[in-house]
Subunit: 343 residues, 2 copies
């Protein structure tokens, strides 16, 4: 069906070796022959079969991305940025959404191995490193993003959630807040544990005692849980003047909860979210949040990968652990506390 080297060689009246060399510029070919070959390629609409270069035990120029989901703005932007960067370096990305399902994740790794991916970027849900170890032993470079796996080491790019949260709480304290509510994740995760430590440390730094009553867990990973969590929080402690939520969606829910109670944001309560999702820029009011630095993560990831792939000597270099400190984005949902509230 599609044209092959043979077809091109025949039409140009040369050997297949010459065609190959013209395409790859891997040895001198006379101008005249080069032209004939290129004309034939054009004429036949010949597209060299990249699978072959994979077969000849060289690179497939395919990289796998194993990720829970690309349909939330944060991971979507991350995946897109990685794809673009790799594409401009000549690599293609096979994206596998795992939906946090361990079986799908396993199948995704298997497929990438069968497709002979040159490398794998993973945000694994499986906290066990068995499969990852196996892959590593096969000599396939792995970059772990935003995850740390016990007993398994690999190039890692992650976010310093302790620092991010610390900065956010510091900022609230700087505005004059001392009674700061905290909406926590339903179930602890390394990620959310770091956040909590940052919160406690910021309070401690300023001599504010930690009060467990100011902390509630959201029932779920969604908007509605934010609404009910903030209501519970305000009932527990009516003296609160600010709320930190571990996740932007939850923070937006918290804003709604506050508005539903008849209060205003930020006049009556300040709210800070986490992740810097794009829609925090289009909320009313715009949400102050800690920005998940997708671009820097993507950049660090791709640079690490390309280095491992391009320079064979770098394959054995020590694994890197890149930690990125997220930035606080101050928008409209935070202000200094007032003495009296509206309703």
């Amino acid at each position: 069906m599609a044209a092959t080297v043979k077809d091109v060689a025949k039409l140009a009246g040369v050997s297949i070796a010459t065609v190959s060399h013209v395409i790859n510029k891997t040895r001198y070919v006379s101008d005249e022959t080069t032209t004939r070959v290129n004309d034939a390629i054009e004429e036949l609409k010949y597209y060299p079969n990249m699978l072959v270069s994979g077969l000849l035990n060289k690179k497939t120029y395919t990289i796998g991305l194993v990720i829970p989901s690309i349909s939330n703005e944060t991971f979507g932007l991350l995946a897109e940025t990685i794809q673009k960067m790799l594409f401009s370096s000549g690599y293609n990305l096979i994206i596998c959404n795992t939906s946090y399902d361990l079986e799908i994740e396993e199948e995704a790794f298997n497929t990438l191995l069968r497709k002979k991916a040159d490398a794998i970027i993973a945000i694994p849900s499986n906290r066990e490193g068995k499969k990852l170890k196996e892959i590593k032993e096969m000599g396939i470079p792995i970059v772990l993003v935003d995850r740390v796996i016990p007993d398994f080491s690999a190039d890692t790019v992650r976010v310093d959630n302790f620092q991010g949260t610390h900065e956010a709480i510091n900022y609230l304290i700087g505005l004059g807040h001392t009674a700061i509510g905290y909406i926590d994740r339903k179930v602890d995760q390394s990620h959310s544990l770091e956040q909590k430590l940052g919160y406690k440390k910021a309070l401690e730094d300023h001599g504010i005692p930690f009060d467990a009553a100011n902390m509630v867990r959201a029932d779920d990973y969604d908007y509605e849980s934010g609404v009910s969590a903030v209501k519970k929080l305000l009932q527990n402690n009516p003296k609160l003047t600010a709320i930190f939520a571990y996740y932007d969606i939850t923070a937006l829910g918290a804003m709604r909860g506050i508005l539903e109670l008849g209060y205003r944001v930020p006049e009556d309560f300040s709210v800070i979210g986490y992740d810097g999702m794009p829609f925090t820029k289009v909320s009313w009011p715009r949400l102050t949040t800690v920005f998940f630095p997708e671009y820097r993560i993507a950049k660090a990831t791709c640079e690490l990968l390309i280095k491992r792939l391009d320079r064979d000597d770098s394959r054995n270099e020590k694994e890197k652990d890149i930690v990125i400190v997220p930035k606080l984005i101050v928008q409209e949902s935070t202000a200094a506390p007032r003495s009296s509230k509206l309703p």
Copy 2:
């Protein structure tokens, strides 16, 4: 490095043909031999090289998705849904984000041809069908999503934006609105033209004369343009009671513009967006919008594709044009008009 059939054959003490047949169950192999081969596969952590099946002129089980961007919620969800559906049918997706750049798009198609993709799903930015025609002539199935290319026919899955907008405006009229502002796209596109026709038709159906002054173009494809567009609109015609925006982000901007002017939504003005992006569920108020049916689009696309790929006889069947009517999602930003406004 990685194990091959040869290694497995040697360890199991059989020929490579037998190994192949055990893996693919393509001819009878005795239980005893089967066990030995499977043990060897396990032992060596052998992953069959899928590139070969592509080489042998069979399928690569790779499908290309050429899309402007996956980092907006709509396309992200579409891409994710397609990826998951194809994955569960044994196919992998190579996603190429074009950023609406024609050169990148061209390069994406070329890469997919070199990678010998079994099929291509495209949301092309290039309104010329030259490349697509070339691909089609090579016998590679194409599905066009949400786009129609003049002088080029292929399987198509698209949204009936005329109907979607018609329904939205109808709904506003049903609530009692007659002065309905319209925020249009900066530059016309088949998509936005359909929307405008739906708007005009709905007015016409109810004997409401069309007034060009009720229509403005947003300066850009973003939030800020919505803010300024709505202000212009209200200045043009203070009697408006409802606003339709061609795009959710713009609609959210319009809501902000209205709030900034001191009015309320929906009490003083109703607002309807378009695309049903997930964050319309977490805005304040929640935005009434016309839902871009990603799931149904993805489903139709994958079914079309799988049929073409699995059944050779279906390759020559007539091209399908699947038109999906989007649904209006009524939320909190719309209500019946009131006689007096707030400020």
